[in-house]
């Protein structure tokens, strides 16, 4: 089995247009959630989100590209460019043939669907732009990253709702670890902040109208975000041979299914995924100093997640830190685990634990060290990243300092 390391990271999200800006915001505990701005927002009862504002796609893409790139594809490409530039890799010949792309997304080109349904149903038009299908398809982002970077190996999209990008990164990890690929570009991207996207979530009545307050007793729901996180997962010897800077090592991954309820999470399913990731990474519970929580700020997730962590981690649950960065960047759905992996890398590399902001009242059902409101300095050698999706699908990654 090969070792797998991360040699590049990229992002765009409500906290920042790149990794340095995002990490700075996380260190400062800044909130990127604000009033949503898009057409028909006044017909929504939920009007806040972690929206990427002041974004000018024309600065990154030309007109022909924009005709083909939904916002989620644009985000994926911006993040992939940053990650691959940091890695210093360029893909030709054999390396191109054994390198690929696995990205997570839940809604894919939802904005494109929203705009075009509006055009044919509401406005009664009978003609749509010829590129609607290639623009909205869920694999568009992965394909465009493959095309732009000449990645000719396995390339596909994973859709497991809120766990999509953790599943994607876990598969990329397994492909490099098994030796079937030298480099995988992986992570996730999401852009659901449009009228139809938010209206659908509103229906479920789990959204907060004012703030995302994970683990706080007065939490009242989730807040949606958008953005992308993309990484370069590279075989360790390959990275070392070329003198690449290594951000962290990916050591373990596990996925489980609750097999119980389409929306209510299960403690057992989550705990099995956490335990599985430790086993896969040959990590002792005592080695884990930080967990980046799924931490959505809903009543159901946060208490179930804390109970699962307590079960899986035993006495270490009371010693480790666990925080949810969703209170800062919002829940980026199929891209969220990828954006949140930045907090894991920051913990390992910089010894800074991103806080859970918006924390106001302790909840006895979430009685763990949730790093309330302010970032903390701590030396941690191994971390976990949790993602627990609707559909009962759980994916946990384990990372270690190199």
């Amino acid at each position: 089995m090969k070792r797998v390391v991360i040699t590049g990271a990229g992002t765009v999200n409500a906290l920042g247009r790149d990794v340095p800006a995002t990490l700075e915001a996380m260190r400062e505990g800044r909130c990127g959630i604000s009033e949503l701005e898009f057409r028909d927002v006044e017909r929504l009862s939920i009007r806040i989100g972690g929206q990427v504002k002041g974004y000018e796609p024309e600065a990154a893409f030309n007109r022909q590209q924009l005709a083909l790139y939904d916002r989620f594809t644009q985000f994926a490409l911006i993040a992939a460019r940053e990650a691959i530039a940091q890695s210093g890799l360029s893909f030709h010949g054999d390396l191109a043939d054994c390198s690929g792309v696995v990205l997570g997304t839940s809604g894919g080109g939802l904005t494109t669907q929203d705009e075009n349904y509006r055009s044919v149903y509401e406005e009664g038009k009978n003609r749509v732009h010829p590129f609607v299908v290639p623009k909205l398809m869920n694999n568009a982002a992965a394909s465009h990253v493959s095309m732009e970077m000449n990645l000719r190996g396995p390339t596909f999209t994973v859709a497991t709702a809120c766990a999509s990008s953790n599943h994607a990164m876990g598969l990329a990890f397994q492909m490099v670890r098994s030796g079937s690929c030298s480099v995988m570009i992986t992570g996730g991207s999401e852009s659901m902040l449009c009228f139809g996207g938010v209206k659908a979530w509103e229906g479920l009545r789990v959204m907060s109208k004012d703030a995302c307050r994970p683990f706080s007793a007065n939490r009242n729901g989730m807040v949606q975000g958008e953005g992308a996180g993309v990484y370069v997962f590279e075989e360790y010897e390959h990275a070392r041979a070329r003198g690449a800077e290594i951000l962290a090592e990916v050591v373990g991954f596990a996925m489980t299914s609750d097999a119980s309820d389409i929306v209510m999470p299960s403690k057992q399913g989550a705990a099995r995924a956490i335990t599985g990731a430790l086993r896969d990474g040959k990590l002792a519970r005592e080695e884990v100093g930080y967990i980046n929580a799924h931490g959505t700020g809903t009543a159901a997730n946060d208490k179930t997640e804390c109970a699962a962590v307590a079960d899986a981690m035993g006495p270490q649950a009371d010693r480790l830190m666990i925080s949810s960065t969703k209170a800062m960047h919002g829940h980026c759905i199929g891209g969220t685990g990828a954006v949140e992996l930045l907090a894991c890398i920051m913990a390992l590399r910089e010894g800074v634990i991103a806080p859970t902001i918006g924390y106001e009242e302790p909840d006895p059902e979430c009685a763990l060290d949730v790093v309330p409101n302010e970032a903390r300095e701590a030396d941690v050698s191994a971390v976990l990243s949790n993602a627990f999706a609707f559909g009962g699908l759980n994916a946990v990654l384990a990372l270690r300092k190199v």
Partner: protein
């Protein structure tokens, strides 16, 4: 059909029961309606009466809309209909 009868019909359908099996002091739990069933019932009620029910599944106890029994739900809806009548 009265508000009460219409609400009972909606709840009975959700619970897969006959309306006669739903009494005013039944709780949703008694009727086997889970959180997803509750959200679906509220949606059906909003559609039936053309009202908007202030209900957040994260804090059911803090909402103005009391779901502790069929009677409180009916009373809450009657109040909302009166308030939201144009």
């Amino acid at each position: 059909m009265s508000v009460k009868d219409r609400v009972i019909a909606i709840i009975a359908e959700q619970a897969v029961l006959e309306p006669s099996d739903v009494t005013m002091d039944s709780t949703l739990e008694d009727l086997g309606i889970d959180s997803l069933g509750l959200v679906e019932s509220i949606f059906a009620i909003e559609e039936a009466f053309d009202i908007s029910v202030p209900f957040n599944a994260n804090e059911p106890e803090q909402s103005d809309f009391d779901i502790s029994s069929v009677a409180t739900i009916v009373a809450g809806i009657e109040k909302l209909i009166a308030e939201q009548a144009k």
